[in-house]
Symmetry: C2
Subunit: 255 residues, 2 copies
Amino acid sequence: MQKPLILIANDDSIAAKGIKTLAEVMSEIGEVVVIAPDTHQSGMGHAITLDRPLRVSKVKDFLPNVEAYKCSGTPADCVKFGKHFVLKGRKIDLVVSGINHGSNSSIAVIYSGTMSAAIEAAIEGIPAVGFSLCDFGAEADFSHTKEYVKNISLKVLENGLPQGVALNVNFPKLSEEPIKGVKICRQTDALFRESFEERKDPYGRAYYWMDGFLQNEDNGGGTDEDALKENYVAIVPVKFDLTDYQAVEKMKSWF
Amino acid sequence: MQKPLILIANDDSIAAKGIKTLAEVMSEIGEVVVIAPDTHQSGMGHAITLDRPLRVSKVKDFLPNVEAYKCSGTPADCVKFGKHFVLKGRKIDLVVSGINHGSNSSIAVIYSGTMSAAIEAAIEGIPAVGFSLCDFGAEADFSHTKEYVKNISLKVLENGLPQGVALNVNFPKLSEEPIKGVKICRQTDALFRESFEERKDPYGRAYYWMDGFLQNEDNGGGTDEDALKENYVAIVPVKFDLTDYQAVEKMKSWF
């Protein structure tokens, strides 16, 4: 049997530890091509680059037997460019994104560059998974995620995914307690409460740093935040058809 | 009765014709505050700015009786900053975004900065609408949209919106045929087919321009593309809970 062709992207850049870990695991499964932003792109949402051209160049010595490229664009650009230019129309069997340094659970999925790469692939009809670890550190320990990354990827290759769906997979931070297993979840209904810290530059002009925390008042059960808290791997199947079909019916009487 | 407080954002920048049109219409309804990017932010998706601070400054002479600001961040940043800093926690009755120069129907909703501003407001529990015109021109004619922008906004102020929903409103380009009315639609299941044009810079190095067109093979009826083609205003209620609940049930047998 031919090895599956796997495209890898992320949002933490080609230099991140998480994408190297992901490429190592994927090399055990298939033929791997990596294309990732040349700089950090966290919080980029589903941005694409329209107002300037892209630069793309080959990266030497990324990993043995792994073709790797860095791109001046966003995570979604990387998938588009990887599919259309680097792989020149070859059939991609799986797109994986990450492993992100930091959680993309709950509402973070909306702001996530990691997930935009996976969703971009899903739009193209390619089975796709975004992996994230609840640890923002540049030197975060990904060792406990490897077995699950491999297992989940193999299952997706074997079963495919429902049409219009990508997986948002979040791992608990490494702790002394072993991971309990995997839970299929719904997106937690929580939101970021922002604050803005005002500072003055050397010329006396104001600038503002955005900060915030996740305010979670969702007690309905079955959420990705619940699963992570109990030390499970949380998987949310996410879709890119944003239509609220119930609201379509309700609103028909409006006009 | 107190006038409703309306926050306006967009992705085409504070200098765009579309946001001025929107602010003019909203001034007839309520107290208006505008906060928009200082540069063009099309295709920014739901990006937020995490790696650098924001600059915000007041804009003089935007429109009489309209407080206006420009911000160095993304459309989603504008809503966050507007809510938390400019309005200092005052209750906002409505957030409107646009009017975008260019369509945000179908899958474009995913890449849309216009809609990210509306969705950001919906996450905060504020009724929100993104307006877009199917005309990319900087001097696009918005005259036929005004009556509908006002009417839709008044209906949202009157009825509210279902929880977790924002409206994605797209207008046909001005033509000799009058608008036929409003249709509540589902998001068209179509995708952009990209191409990349390779050019060489003066130093002989390659760079790539991304281009593309919407490939629509959705013949199921009831879509926003269908409505626009028939010269209706297309409204899609969109939600930010991306969970595919059917897939959650299906996938529970996986692990």
